[in-house]
Symmetry: C2
């Protein structure tokens, strides 16, 4: 269990399969974000039919609503949200560090004010492990200290070193839970979960290398994440960090680039050896009527689409594009009908999942470089928004 | 085409089949309301899988957004909204008469202020026919003058008589359109549409009888609607008007009780010979977390449902009840996740459609009276909200 098998490579790009308790995940793969145990606006059947092999749940949000105790009582996050395939939960770190002014960081952990009811709560490495264990996803993430994309060397070093110290505590608590799982509702626990560490260090090469070294020294792990990217730094800088890490990360473990991204980021990340991605942009943009297409972004609210018979993207195989016209989708957005948000979100989710599928196919065919170059040229060639 | 065949009766209750251009509708039947060419929050596939044989579109809303010209250009309401089964459009009358203070009534028609952009527009019997023809549903409704449920005899008489005069104009214009359909996008029209009149008269028996008489005198029709009920009058008064009309309405035509209703109204209406119903309550209540169940209403937001493993209604066969727990649905509502609105709306829609299906089955088995009595006893016995 938790094994990662490489099926083929082209340069740094890899096609593999990650075995998790709830199923096997072919990579590269995009993970839709199910903040509250549901991918926003979508039915789990729709997410499954869009080809999602794994989704992500947000520990911070689920801890606040409905609370991990409720989810544990209801049989864990899979059963509660009726999602039978693999899941990964983040640690809550990114969210609490984003609560600028509402949180206090100490060596013990982070004290923060709930954005729901104003109550004061705290998240520590141990507490994050406890919450994620109660949620019961296949993969839990270590509780890390995230700094902004333009953070100074000093600030990034402080966050990186704390992340390593917290990793020891996460590993210790997670091992306790895995070795002697506490019973649930008086029954033996059925949780089977692995823990992945997160490499930090901001945009500073020396810190990224020290973070990687310290992380590997604390292993072995079943997967490694790269965090603290796509948080405000220029894209070339993000690609530079990935280039730096690509040859140094263990080849036989999946690499997860957290919070990324947009279509072009997926291709650039895959070219640099990334296996897993997650991002809320697919559903967030979808709710605002912004669709990705093979020839760039499309704003469905524009008057130009009023009587447009074409689907969002004539080259797309999603359930939205195979049935609905731009004209109808525009009407739904203009009239404020919920169905519009849903249909464009679904398209965007399928768009990124398909990108992962096509990358995998072309890597296995030894054709990824050519395909991704052409894909990016077409995508950037005609920006429609 | 447009024929109604009775398959069986029990007392005044009837089970029949209505043949429409886009398919046959078994009755009694509840028509979900697709205000803007979409049943709010639901995908046409979901509506179809919930068993809907016919849905209703709102002429007033579709006229304002996206406008009938857009829908006509896009191939008509069925093609535009990707709904292949029968559709009926209302006349816009009910909506413009609801715009108190924003409309002026004259013999010619109604001048009103758009609730969208404040523009001044008018709807006349002829204009309503033109708009509904452009939309292209299977059934168009006559443009009527609706008065409030407690309207005086004088006011109700005025509205009833105007409705009859307007019916002449509707019939005239609809016949012109049907006899020589204007081409669409340079192609011959494919619209095949019938017109149904509406019996008005408020809560006054003499007016209802005169309205019925005047309506029938202007026939023959392929169906007749009863309007101006469930608009503020007490329920026993509505049932009294239905009792009055039941034996006097032609037996061989479908009867449509407009804007009704709640589960108990469906059963009471069916017992009085009604064949078709429509109401926004199913989706409106669903969006507020109020679900109909076989033992009364249930408010899913209540804390009591926090860890409730049961479905909304253990006796329901809908896609929501067969998969999701009350605990999860409550969580979705509390967290403000769109999926919750969708799932409870879908349940409520299926709930009313199933009620029609079961009424039909029991009418054909000669068991409707007993079944509906028991159904109502169980439903009212334990009001949970």
């Amino acid at each position: 269990m938790f094994e990662f098998t490489i099926a083929g490579t082209q340069g740094a790009a890899r096609a593999g399969t990650l075995a998790l308790p709830h199923g096997a995940v072919p990579t590269p793969a995009f993970m839709p974000v199910g903040t509250y145990g549901a991918v926003r606006g979508l039915h789990p059947d729709e997410v499954e039919r869009a080809g999602a092999q794994i989704i992500l749940g947000n520990t911070y949000h689920l801890h606040l609503r409905p609370g991990e105790a409720t989810i544990q009582t209801m049989g864990g996050i899979h059963r509660f949200s009726s999602w039978s395939r693999p899941m990964l939960t983040d640690s809550g770190g990114f969210q609490v560090f984003s609560l600028a002014g509402l949180r206090t960081i100490a060596e013990e952990g982070v004290e923060f004010t709930s954005h729901i009811d104003g109550s004061v709560r705290s998240l520590t490495p141990e507490r994050s492990m406890d919450v994620q264990w109660a949620l019961g996803a296949d993969v839990a993430m270590a509780f890390d200290h995230v700094v902004p994309g333009q953070a100074s060397h000093e600030l990034a070093e402080d966050g990186m070193e704390r992340t390593l110290r917290w990793l020891d505590r996460c590993r210790g608590r997670h091992a306790q839970l895995a070795d002697a799982p506490p019973p649930v509702n008086g029954q033996p626990s059925t949780v089977n979960q692995t823990l992945w560490p997160i490499v930090q260090g901001g945009i500073h090469e020396d810190l990224r290398l020290r973070s990687l070294e310290g992380t590997l020294a604390r292993g072995p792990w079943t997967g490694i994440a790269v965090g603290g990217l796509s948080v405000g730094e220029p894209k070339p800088v993000m690609y530079g960090v990935l280039d730096l890490l690509a040859s140094r990360l263990p080849q036989d473990q999946p690499r997860y680039l957290m919070g990324v991204g947009f279509p072009e980021d997926l291709l650039e990340g895959i070219a640099r050896g990334v296996d897993l991605f997650d991002c809320v942009a697919a559903t967030r943009n979808g709710r605002h009527g912004s669709a990705w297409t093979s020839t760039g972004r499309l704003n469905i609210r524009k008057a130009a689409h009023r009587t447009d018979e074409l689907p969002l993207d004539p080259l797309c195989d999603c359930a939205t594009c195979s049935r609905f016209s731009r004209g109808y989708l525009r009407h739904l957005f203009v009239a404020g009908e919920m169905l519009g948000l849903r249909l464009v979100s679904l398209h965007n989710v399928r768009f990124l999942i398909r990108l992962g599928e096509e990358a995998r196919r072309t890597i296995l065919a030894g054709d990824f470089d050519r395909w991704s170059r052409e894909w990016l040229r077409r995508y950037h060639g005609r920006e429609r928004e």
